[in-house]
């Protein structure tokens, strides 16, 4: 006879998970809270969670007296354009690799795989030189052009299209569709999960990128949020609420997107891992 342990009124794992989850969420909570605190309040511990007065100077600085709105716009432009271009071009290329036989397909695909493996620090210097030669340094174009099509995106779409059952596409061909027509009318509508995955990943990577904007952009106006944030931090070392307010702005769009589309994000992470 096996003994049963006395049952608690709730699952004992809550005792482990709740504190851990709280510790993990704490810094982000602190980020939001401290953006509303004056320097004097910030130093108190335990912190006053509900400040008797909301100190809005930090936010005023960020919205009125800084480049954050401009940086937000830049980040949005860069992220949106690259997401759209990736959706279009990675689908085209991925479909071709998955379904069409053509000379050079193996070679090209190998090249793409190769790019996936090469670490960024190897290519960043020459890429900068290329951008320089093209006169694109310190423009948003320098951020967008290298990311118009990502190897990971091509890889993802190819994997997806390879796993679609061929029959539906074959039926469309017999019904008279061209290759492009099959892609547009049959394959793409079925590809919504893969496309959302691709969009989520691309958006995440482009919005959060620091190193390449740091290299390619030199002026304040053309910075993206992560870059601008670090610059701002360097310039306003004592103005904590302003820096935190800027931090909130940098982090909020992706966090909101994440909260709204958790399943998609999680799926995008796990699927890229499985393929890796």
């Amino acid at each position: 006879m096996s003994r049963r342990l006395p049952r608690l009124p709730f699952n004992p794992w809550h005792l482990v998970l709740a504190p851990v989850a709280f510790v993990f969420a704490l810094p982000l909570l602190w980020m939001v809270l401290s953006s509303f605190m004056s320097n004097a309040q910030i130093n108190q511990f335990p912190p006053t969670i509900i400040p008797d007065s909301l100190h809005l100077d930090g936010w005023r600085t960020v919205f009125g007296d800084s480049q954050f709105p401009r940086w937000f716009l830049n980040s949005t432009i860069v992220a949106s354009v690259t997401v759209i271009s990736n959706l279009a071009f990675c689908s085209l290329a991925g479909y071709a690799f998955a379904r069409l036989r053509f000379r050079g397909s193996t070679l090209f695909f190998l090249l793409i795989l190769l790019t996936l493996i090469i670490p960024f620090q190897l290519t960043m210097i020459p890429t900068f030189i290329v951008m320089d030669k093209l006169g694109l340094v310190d423009t948003l174009a320098a951020l967008i052009v290298p990311a118009l099509v990502t190897p990971l995106g091509v890889f993802l779409m190819r994997q997806f299209f390879m796993n679609l059952p061929k029959e539906v596409e074959e039926a469309a061909r017999i019904d008279g569709c061209s290759r492009l027509g099959v892609l547009w009318h049959v394959a793409l509508p079925l590809a919504k999960p893969a496309l959302s995955t691709l969009a989520a990943l691309t958006f995440l990577l482009m919005w959060n990128d620091l190193l390449w904007p740091l290299i390619a952009i030199s002026s304040d106006e053309n910075s993206t949020l992560p870059l601008g944030l670090t610059t701002f931090q360097g310039q306003h070392t004592q103005d904590f609420s302003a820096v935190m307010a800027g931090n909130v702005i940098t982090v909020t769009p992706v966090l909101i997107a994440f909260l709204l589309a958790q399943k998609t994000f999680i799926q995008s992470l796990t699927s890229s891992a499985v393929k890796g």
Partner: protein, 292 residues
């Protein structure tokens, strides 16, 4: 005619062209160019001068590089096992039916979504020696306040901590998916065979997780060897160069000190090492697949 030239589907070339132009032009070409650069002395302003293997020779005796490598290895050696082990533990904790599971999972994943730069800025503030919440808490508890990111002996380890906070979401999510993929019938069979929870973990669940774990080890290692954003956003390599890591070193050499040729050489050596790492994983997975 087009078919003879371009294979069965000439129109396919049109499909693939935009991707290939961008990827070949801005990824493949730079790889070769980097190699060329590494044999030159270049400062990105004057035209480059050929110096042969001089850069590679200098590599060997560069104490700055050696320190950077050491710091990177310390970071990797701590980050990889902790993020994977903790990620597995939390995934197993989360893999059950109970209330608030969604909330816990969101809380643990959210840091991963935030930009690493933003994480760095946030924690620079939290760990600020005079105004940060961390030291305020320590003082309140009558414990010694710390230098954290301002202390050359501590800064790297604080960065490890931040890295784990921000990076655990990925292994967590991967392990969660893998745990849910363990076939129910396999656990039933083990149960009927006499295995209770602990034995089921050892004999069924963990063996199923081996491929995923191998992947995670390689992935997290590659990631941590390329650490940059966090260092830039917190310490800019300081204090006293105690947090300079490899990519930061390359960046510094190329874009602050204008030694682009030397930086390219360093980047190449590191890239070679990374390639060996990936190659090893590929060989290992082929090996397993053939001997399964």
């Amino acid at each position: 005619m087009a078919q003879r030239l371009l294979g069965e589907n000439p129109s396919a070339w049109a499909f693939v062209l935009p991707a290939m132009v961008v990827i070949v032009g801005l990824a493949i070409v730079p790889i070769g160019w980097s190699l060329f650069l590494s044999f030159n002395s270049a400062d990105l302003i004057k035209p480059a001068e050929w110096v042969g293997f001089a850069n590679y020779e200098a590599l060997k005796d560069d104490p700055g590089l050696r320190d950077a490598i050491e710091h990177t290895i310390i970071y990797t050696g701590l980050f990889v096992p902790i993020s994977i082990g903790l990620g597995l533990f939390l995934a197993m904790a989360l893999n059950r039916q109970m209330r608030f599971i969604g909330i816990y999972r969101t809380a643990l994943l959210a840091p991963f979504i935030a930009s690493v730069a933003a994480q760095g800025v946030l924690f620079s503030f939290i760990f600020d020696e005079r105004f940060g919440v961390a030291n305020a808490a320590l003082a309140e508890l009558h414990l010694q306040t710390q230098g954290f990111l301002g202390d050359p002996g501590q800064a790297l380890y604080v960065i490890v901590l931040i890295g784990i906070w921000g990076g655990i979401g990925f292994p967590l999510v991967i392990y969660l998916a893998a745990l849910q993929d363990v076939p129910r019938e396999l656990l039933d069979a083990a149960s009927v065979d006499g295995a209770r929870r602990w034995a089921q973990l050892r004999h069924v669940i963990l063996p199923q997780l081996v491929p995923v774990t191998v992947f995670l080890v390689v992935w997290q290692t590659l990631l941590s060897l390329q650490l940059f954003d966090l260092v830039y956003a917190t310490t800019r390599g300081g204090p006293l160069d105690s947090t300079v890591v490899i990519v930061y070193y390359v960046y510094n050499q190329a874009f602050q000190l204008f030694n682009a040729g030397y930086a390219a050489a360093v980047a190449y050596v590191v890239a070679l090492f990374l390639l060996i790492l990936v190659g090893a994983q590929l060989v290992y997975s082929r090996f397993r697949a053939r001997h399964a």
